[in-house]
């Protein structure tokens, strides 16, 4: 039991505030204080990538960032990805191409892929593998993750035209 501090973030485009214990990581604060459990923990040591969120647009391991360090910054999580009732092309592709099996690594992989596609809308398979190499998945064998990201990239490019 320690002292709590006010933590203000822009979460998925909306201003949000919570009282957060100083030692809590962004991952813990998102899940426990902001009520966003879509971001998962797999190790809490920066080894697995399950907790990946976008901090000011950059993918970070939220288990390695203190929540209070993020004061005033923009955090994007899996919960903010869908466009209202419509799935984001990445989400739709992961659902259709078997990119998600148990689903536990999925939010982290999708957020990593989103950052990749924002920088590089037309990545090669090798670039996709490199970008997601920090996201461990024990179910898929990665093939279908790569295929899902390729499909989403094509759809997003078509949308941008």
């Amino acid at each position: 039991m320690g002292e709590k501090f006010r933590c203000g973030l822009t979460v998925n485009g909306e201003r949000a505030e919570a009282l957060v214990l100083s030692y809590k990581t962004l991952l813990e604060a998102l899940r426990e204080d902001f009520g966003l459990t879509g971001t998962k923990h797999g190790c809490e040591l920066g080894e697995c990538g399950a907790c990946t969120v976008l901090l000011d647009g950059e993918p970070v391991l939220s288990c390695l960032v203190l929540a209070l360090e993020c004061e005033g910054r923009a955090v994007q999580t899996i919960e903010g990805l869908a466009r209202g009732p419509e799935l984001h092309p990445l989400q739709a592709a992961f659902a259709d191409f078997g990119g998600s099996q148990c689903g536990y690594c999925t939010p982290g992989v999708i957020m990593t892929a989103k950052a990749l596609l924002e920088k590089n809308p037309n990545p090669t398979r090798q670039q996709i593998k490199e970008a997601t190499a920090g996201n461990l998945c024990r179910c898929t064998g990665y093939n279908q993750i790569v295929e899902s990201i390729e499909d989403a990239a094509a759809k997003l490019r078509a949308e941008a035209k």
């Binding site: 320690g2 697995c48 259709d96 148990c102 689903g103 536990y104 999925t106 996201n135 024990r138």
Partner: protein
Amino acid sequence: MKKKLDVVGKARRRVDARAKVTGALRYADDLFMPRMLYAKLLRSPHPHAVIEKIDAEKARRHPGVHLVLTGKDFPVPFGIMPVSVDEYPLAPERVRYVGDPVAAVIAVDEQTAVEAIALIEVRYRILKPIESPEAGLNNPEPRIHDYGEQGNIHRNQSYEFGKTEEALKSSDLVFEDLFFYEGNTHLPMEQQASLAFVDPEGRLQISSSTQNPHYLHRQLARVLQIAETRIRVVATPNGGAFGGKCDPGGHEFVVSKAALVLGRPVKIGLTREEVFYVHRGRHPVLMKMKTGVTKDGKLTGMHLQTLLDGGGYGSHGPASTFYTGVLTPVTYHYPRFKFEACRVFTNKPACGPKRGHGTPQPRFGQEVQLDKIAGKLGMDPAELRLKNLTKADSLTASWLRVGSTGLGDCITKVTEMSGWKQRRGKLGRGRGLGLACSTYMCGAGVAIYWNKMPHSGVQVLLDRSGGVIVYCGATEIGQGSDDVLAAIVAETLGVDTGVVRVVSGDTGITPVDLGSYSSRVTIMAGNAAVQAAERLRVQIAAVVSETLGTLPDRVVFSQGRVFAADHSGPGMSFVEAVAAAESQLGTLSAVGSYSPPKAPGKYKGAGVGPSPAYSFSSCVVEVEVDERTGWIHVPKIWIAHDIGRALNPTLARGQVIGGVYMGLGEALMEEQSFRRLPEKLSGALVHRAPSMLDYKSLTSLDMPDVEVALIEDPDPNCPYGAKEVGQGPLLPVMPALANAIYDAVGVRIDEIPITPDKVLRALESESKRVGPQSFPSVPYPEPMFVLPPWEGGDGKETKRDASAAVV
């Protein structure tokens, strides 16, 4: 009435996909409740010790602490198998591995609980740790457990199906090889978590990341000494399991007990380090394999000996011990077969069931040895295998019934896909191809505890809006069991999966299914679902046939319509048919259940290995080996899997590639290994790598492209012909890799994992081999002798003298 398939066999978004890609799915650790408390476990720092005293007073007085539990609070032991009830939620007097839980703190938050467990003082009297099965055989004292065969031997068994030594002696050639398969762990992305609370009616409920809610339910009742009717177990969607969430865990009993004592919700989430200690993963197995063969490549018999490192507890060990041999004769015909197995307790985390349960180890040895045999005989390894295949609907020497088999087709397909004939041996120095095959059960033929009841039950409820609810105790662990149930019921009732809601893995509201293990869900829950849905279809058809102007068995249900088979009228919608049936019959519901067929073997122990069906796989791995560094690169893998029928090809392909991935990880790098701390730091036997960084697994960059062929010949024992796909495709990968390395650089690595240092050592050695050098003297018992079916046996134990000479 037969119809063409609308749902089955079509690639489709799985029913739980949306929840997964939106982050909406609630895993156990995503659950929060008002007034919830948090639990933490204190774990033993010693591999083997007597607990002399626990002083928890400081922890109890720590601000924010609500409860401290120790072994005294749990007088009743548990164990997943009735013959190995040897574990306590918190160790009462003895710890048997580093990580054995000894006390628990329940506090207002996780941090407080962490602080408080550090205040618990435990006085241990350290015992000599048993580090290996060899050490366990040589040191009957100190005994890790006071039960088992003798000393530190947990299980020891021997079976002989026909006079095997005779068969080997009269063979043209006999091959004797030693193999070792290191232990490894499941490493599911989700760490185990549980939330227990007392519901408004005063009953215990636990939501937990378990594969087997039914078995957990039974064990909770046993340990907590309360009626099963007072307990509800909800298996939350598992974030991967692979066998690691089959055993009940100490943490599940702790939060349940604490919730009952405190009357408040209590949650626990294990850390990644703790998940390594809970383990129950792949047994390290040393194997000796003696196989006879004729000059023209016909197998004459095999004598297989295995030695398992069991770790500190029984877990599924009695079954694991059997599985290091029983499925060996399912792929190829061995006229005679002798199998001896011994599991030894050691002071390490307990081993148990991991994907393929006990069978990848002997399969590795068998398939590598076949490669050696083919080389010696100058035969193509694929040809040697094709020559010895078991036949469909045949019996093995050990009385397992092989039902449908597509193994020959798998070998033909995978050799075509990979260009095997044109490319093997011709890729140049450093590059090679290797082939291997395997089989796996579609569900174990007997339950873990003896009973005559069905293995799976399904209830289907229809509502008048045309909605379909499927209730089943099967657990969604990521493999797609909810989707399997939805697809089967949707197909049978002629509706879209979008109108089906699956309620699964909840002992409070779903019929019993034994759990998501042994690749049993598609076949067993699937058959139960077919039966329930067909019963409903029959009820509805009887009501609407008159309106449709046809006979009840000529009514077709397809694509949301119900109509006469000859299309004589416009038919009606499924919703109209349901409304008509409900008007006449009342609320519409039906149940189905499934029990596997009786096994042909009648000898004691014949219950392990039989299955309603077996899947088969064949795999070709391509490698590039750098002879300067030993580095192994795998550019491509081809695999053909005999699945009977793919219910949802997207998921089936995913399971195949996922299995290949896990097999390749085991083959190349995954190791649950241990080391000694220096004496000044207690000298304890500790885990070498209890973290995801140190426990190496394949990343997206390491994983090759996998080309998958699904061999589809529907199996009559399986729902819509569908066999298992969750475990089988893992199994041929390790030996195929080893064989590919031999093709590439001419060295034999007879142990798993195959790491660059071993390749270098083999290249530098005279024998061009790295692997075990000796097999210890194991006091196997006198074998139980059973005559093979073709020698006039009846499936029962018989006297050795009654058997004929070699035929």
